[in-house]
């Protein structure tokens, strides 16, 4: 396909990539420390998810340039992902049901 708009793309300073790189290192180190220091229960899960989403957001926004894209494509990409949350909700209910039937038939019933 012919490239009709010969666009002069403005690039970002190298510093921003190095900064994000550093931040990703720090967040990864922190999430490793969650395991190393044996945090348990709700604190562990909260920290893991917080670091995970921070890293994911930095990668998508800066490295994948989503921050500078137009809303038309950003919305087309991000909204369908909310279905994943719905699916998680369904499967949580399903796995709880399976767990209790297994408890009844495998553990109590045996």
């Amino acid at each position: 396909m012919a490239q009709e708009n010969k666009q002069e793309v403005t690039t970002h300073k190298i510093g921003i990539y190095l900064w994000i790189w550093g931040l990703l290192f720090v967040f990864s180190f922190f999430s490793y420390m969650v395991d190393y220091l044996n945090f348990e229960g709700l604190l562990r899960w909260t920290l893991i998810v917080a670091f995970m989403f921070s890293k994911a957001a930095l990668i998508m926004a800066i490295f994948m340039h989503l921050y500078w894209e137009r809303w038309a494509i950003v919305n087309v990409l991000l909204w369908p992902m909310s279905f994943i949350l719905v699916f998680i909700g369904i499967m949580v209910a399903e796995s709880e049901y399976t767990f209790f039937t297994r408890l009844i038939y495998f553990v109590v019933g045996s």
Binding site: T11, R70, S95
Partner: protein, 234 residues
């Protein structure tokens, strides 16, 4: 930026303007990039299905789930360090993502050789990652006796999820490495400056191809962030 697209409204009114324009919906986005994004969205759903089924298996089993921290521990200098190899793999993959972002920048600035060098660095990072993963698999299969149907640590489903999730991700990394080498060669040779036609598509390309390659590579890194959190840390 292009002078026509610069006059377009931004934000939410930009969204309605673009989608209601009766023309190209994704303005300022080359078709190859839009298609890569759509592919990545579908890939997101594939990996989500894997991780959600991992959650389902783990939440519904009455047998205890193996402690990843111990299974993936490494014995270094007489000390047992939990998850050491996985942590190093994570740092290697993040580093290769950083070099990829820089390669994209140099590509758009038409610094051909710098761009090629950084693509090569990225490919070597990916290769290191796959190498360490091969080491990890060898260790778990031959020394720990983990199989898709059983393992000595706990719930039998652990093995099948480990091999499927990390295997599928490793395949993505391997494919990425192959394409990074191809792109590094094309960039070094100056294909994007000379408008040389590709060997497979026989179409001319430009430095947008590097950004599209970059999107795939960052996605592989992104997936690892989630696998690291849900499979290894949880």
């Amino acid at each position: 930026m292009d002078h026509v697209t610069d006059k377009l409204p931004k934000g939410f009114s930009g969204l309605t303007h673009d989608l209601g324009s009766d023309q190209t919906a994704f303005k300022k986005v080359p078709w190859g990039k839009a298609m890569m994004w759509i592919f990545l969205l579908s890939d997101t759903f594939i990996f989500s299905c894997f991780l959600i089924s991992l959650m389902t298996a783990r939440a519904s089993t009455t047998v205890e789930w193996p402690n990843a921290s111990e299974v993936f521990g490494l014995h270094v200098f007489g000390v047992e360090v939990p998850l050491l190899l996985i942590a190093i793999m994570t740092f290697v993959l993040i580093t290769s993502s950083g070099t990829m972002a820089i390669a994209v920048k140099f590509g758009y600035e038409k610094k051909r050789k710098l761009c090629a060098w950084f693509l090569l660095l990225t490919a070597l990072g990916g290769l290191t990652f796959v190498g360490m993963q091969a080491f990890e698999w060898t260790k778990l299969i031959f020394h720990e006796g983990i199989r898709p149907w059983s393992n000595p640590f706990g719930a039998a489903q652990f093995g099948s999820f480990f091999f499927m999730v990390t295997g599928f991700h490793g395949t993505h990394v391997s494919i990425g490495v192959i394409f990074l080498f191809i792109m590094a060669r094309k960039t070094w040779r100056g294909d994007f400056d000379a408008g040389r036609r590709g060997f497979f598509t026989s179409m001319k390309s430009n430095y947008e191809a590097i950004e599209i390659m970059g999107l795939y590579w960052h996605f592989v890194d992104l997936v690892w962030v989630f696998i690291f959190a849900f499979f290894y840390l949880w």
